[in-house]
């Protein structure tokens, strides 16, 4: 075992990359849950985004089109969930699970002829001045543009929920749908838009896995990232800033675990790779024991009789 092979700078650089997919997916899901909808289909939307992004990026040779297609694919799947839960008033838990099962099948079908193909590489965003800072520059400012998109999205979601009128309406719909309806807000429309946004974000997160992080397409490649993103929202007690913190924490855990594997720690790989899931459970337990901060109407079906 050689722990000295683990370099802190490299660790931070790679944790930013490892955190990005779950960060983007969790931000989307947070907005959905703030609107009072629990979409358990994040895993399904992520993997659909992963395959859509991969296929389009390989076909067009442009990662940008890939990411756009991934957002579209995730949103399309989310639309099914939205129609089921908002129009047909189906149970949200069951519909979310259906979305995940469906997404896993769909992605396996779409991606079957793309196994082992290499995607076009996503451009690095070499930030001119900051990137030249010795040491720190390479660690923080020389990633691909999706890493910074994730950071920007965190800020945007925070500002939207906190400082805009639309954000206030979305929160009102999530806290008390009946009251929001009585005030004349279109509960179903707001929720559908939030669901679509959540789907697009999950799709982007998935595409980041298949286009940048891995970068390859394999069946079931998200391996629980969508569920971790769901847990992250609970961990963050539905706040954008804490989602970022949580995502970096999980990213750090994943990277550290991989580094320990590489350094040859005397624990079998199978046990080490359990750690992200076990940490997720631990964090869920700690956060759930506190005061419940979930949006008031989370997971409740809304049906206006009038």
């Amino acid at each position: 075992m050689d722990l000295s092979s683990i370099q802190p700078g490299l660790l931070i650089a790679s944790l930013m990359v490892a955190a990005t997919p779950i960060l983007i997916a969790a931000l989307g899901e947070m907005v959905v849950e703030r609107a009072g909808v629990l979409n358990l289909g994040v895993e399904g939307m992520m993997i659909t985004g992963a395959v859509c992004g991969f296929v389009v990026a390989v076909q067009t040779g442009s990662p940008l089109f890939g990411f756009a297609a991934a957002a579209g694919g995730g949103a399309a799947l989310a639309l099914i969930f939205g129609l089921l839960t908002q129009m047909a008033l189906a149970n949200q838990v069951a519909s979310g699970l259906a979305l995940t099962l469906f997404g896993l099948g769909l992605s396996a079908l779409l991606g079957q002829s793309y196994l082992g193909v290499r995607p076009p590489s996503t451009a690095r965003l070499d930030i001119p001045v900051l990137g030249d800072i010795p040491g720190l520059g390479a660690v923080l400012f020389a990633h691909d543009w999706m890493v910074y998109f994730g950071l920007f999205l965190t800020l945007a979601v925070w500002a939207f929920l906190r400082h805009t009128r639309a954000g206030l309406i979305l929160r009102a719909v999530g806290e008390n749908a009946e009251a929001a309806h009585a005030l004349g807000y279109k509960v179903v429309r707001v929720r559908l838009l939030a669901i679509l946004f959540g789907g697009a974000c999950a799709g982007l997160g998935g595409a980041y896995l298949s286009l940048v992080r891995v970068p390859q397409w394999t069946e079931g490649m998200t391996s629980g990232a969508g569920w971790i993103a769901l847990a992250l929202v609970v961990f963050a007690s539905w706040r954008a800033g804490r989602v970022l913190m949580g995502a970096y924490l999980f990213g750090g855990m994943t990277v550290l675990q991989l580094n320990l594997q590489a350094a040859g720690v005397a624990i079998p790989v199978e046990y080490l790779s359990m750690s992200p899931y076990l940490v997720t459970i631990l964090v869920l337990v700690i956060m759930s024991a506190r005061r419940n901060q979930a949006p008031g109407d989370l997971g409740r079906t809304f049906h206006s009789a009038r």
Binding site: A88, N91, G105, A108, L109, E270
Partner: protein
């Protein structure tokens, strides 16, 4: 303009009709899907639903119906109790794996001793393993309020890695020339979950599934505990006034579903699968969720839904071989079925009202 109006009470007609309509719509949508994939839709649908039952080689396929349906029904019966009470154990796949590991562990520890009580001991170990794995999310929910959905699901990934570690490590067959996987229990008479009648597919897991169907029917319709389960799902507040402890009921539902999933895993590893291997789990724990909903969370419905889902598995395999239909298409097909069921289900609780815009 179409509006939904809540029915005074759920429609009994649509409760029965919804799954059938959903299956029909899925067949149509599946036909379109197969046509897009460049296969003859009618031939594909016939291969999946007709061939295994009445086709040329049906003799060979029919026993498979029990082999695949048994674990699905056994797991789904357990899940349905929880789903009725609003307890969402979606980690049955993990409990299935751990049940198989515990049961096979007992057999491998006893190898090569022959004893009549070995198989019953394995069943107990399987039940206990699944139960214990389900108790982790149950206790965390009970004590700390952690979401049983997320915790039970995370434990599926942990169980999958445990399975890998076991088949590469402790349980690896010492005579296996270095290949991953345990000894084959089919070659170990005391531990083998053999067919009760040869070539019927009827092994002890199928018997257990039938017992579970009957027991769950009696529980739900004749026992006060079943009444409490139904009450908690439909009116949680009323249930609390009636003296039902939500925590204890949750522990019970999680425990039963975990134990049954564990037993299903044991019967599979000691019978059709034969050994612990890296890819031992085949997604029964997730498909059972579809089975539970398709069967309307009703024991008899679940038995029928399990048979139908087993049919799509077998038909899907035939279609893979004969028509070159990709394996994922069947998975997609099963997912679609659940979607359409959830969509059609709206008619059970709501009535469609067609009204002109002016009258609103």
């Amino acid at each position: 303009m179409v509006r939904l109006e809540r029915r005074a009470k759920p429609s009994a007609l649509w409760a029965v009709l919804a799954p059938l309509v959903a299956v029909l719509i899925t067949m149509c949508a599946g036909g379109i899907l197969f046509a897009v994939l460049g296969k003859d839709p009618f031939e594909a649908i016939a291969t999946i639903f007709w061939e295994p039952l009445f086709g040329e080689f049906a003799e060979f396929y029919r026993p498979q119906l029990l082999v695949k349906g048994g674990p699905l029904v056994l797991i789904a019966i357990g899940l349905s109790l929880g789903f009725r009470a609003g307890v969402w154990n979606i980690g049955a796949e993990g409990q299935y794996i751990v049940g198989a590991l515990c049961g096979a562990g007992v057999a491998l520890a006893a190898y090569p001793a022959e004893h009549a009580l070995l198989f019953p001991a394995m069943i107990l170990a399987g039940l206990a393993g699944g139960w214990a794995w389900a108790m982790i999310p149950a206790l965390l929910k009970w004590r700390f309020g952690a979401s049983e959905i997320l915790v039970s699901l995370m434990l599926v990934y942990v169980a999958e890695r445990l399975l890998k570690a076991m088949s590469l490590g402790v349980m690896k067959n010492p005579d296996g020339m270095g290949f991953p996987g345990s000894r084959n229990l089919q070659d170990y008479p005391s531990a083998h979950n053999a067919e009760i009648f040869a070539d019927t597919g009827l092994h002890w897991g199928v018997v257990a599934a039938l017992i579970a169907v009957i027991a769950s029917y009696v529980l739900l319709s004749r026992h006060v505990l079943g009444f409490h389960i139904r009450l908690s799902g439909q009116a949680p507040r009323a249930a609390r006034f009636a003296g039902v402890s939500p925590g204890r009921l949750m522990l019970f539902c999680m425990g039963v579903s975990g134990a049954l999933a564990g037993a299903a895993g044991l019967f599979e590893v000691a019978g059709p699968a034969g050994q612990i291997g890296i890819s031992f789990n085949a997604g029964y724990g997730f498909t059972a969720i579809i089975v539970a909903f398709l069967g309307r969370l009703h024991p008899v419905g679940i038995a029928l839904a399990g048979a139908l889902m087993a049919l799509t598995y077998i038909g899907g395999e035939i279609a893979q071989g004969d028509l070159g239909l990709p394996a994922a298409a069947i998975q997609l097909f099963q997912g679609m079925l659940l979607f359409f069921l959830l969509a059609v289900d709206v008619l059970t609780h709501f009535r469609l009202q067609f009204a002109r815009k002016g009258t609103m």
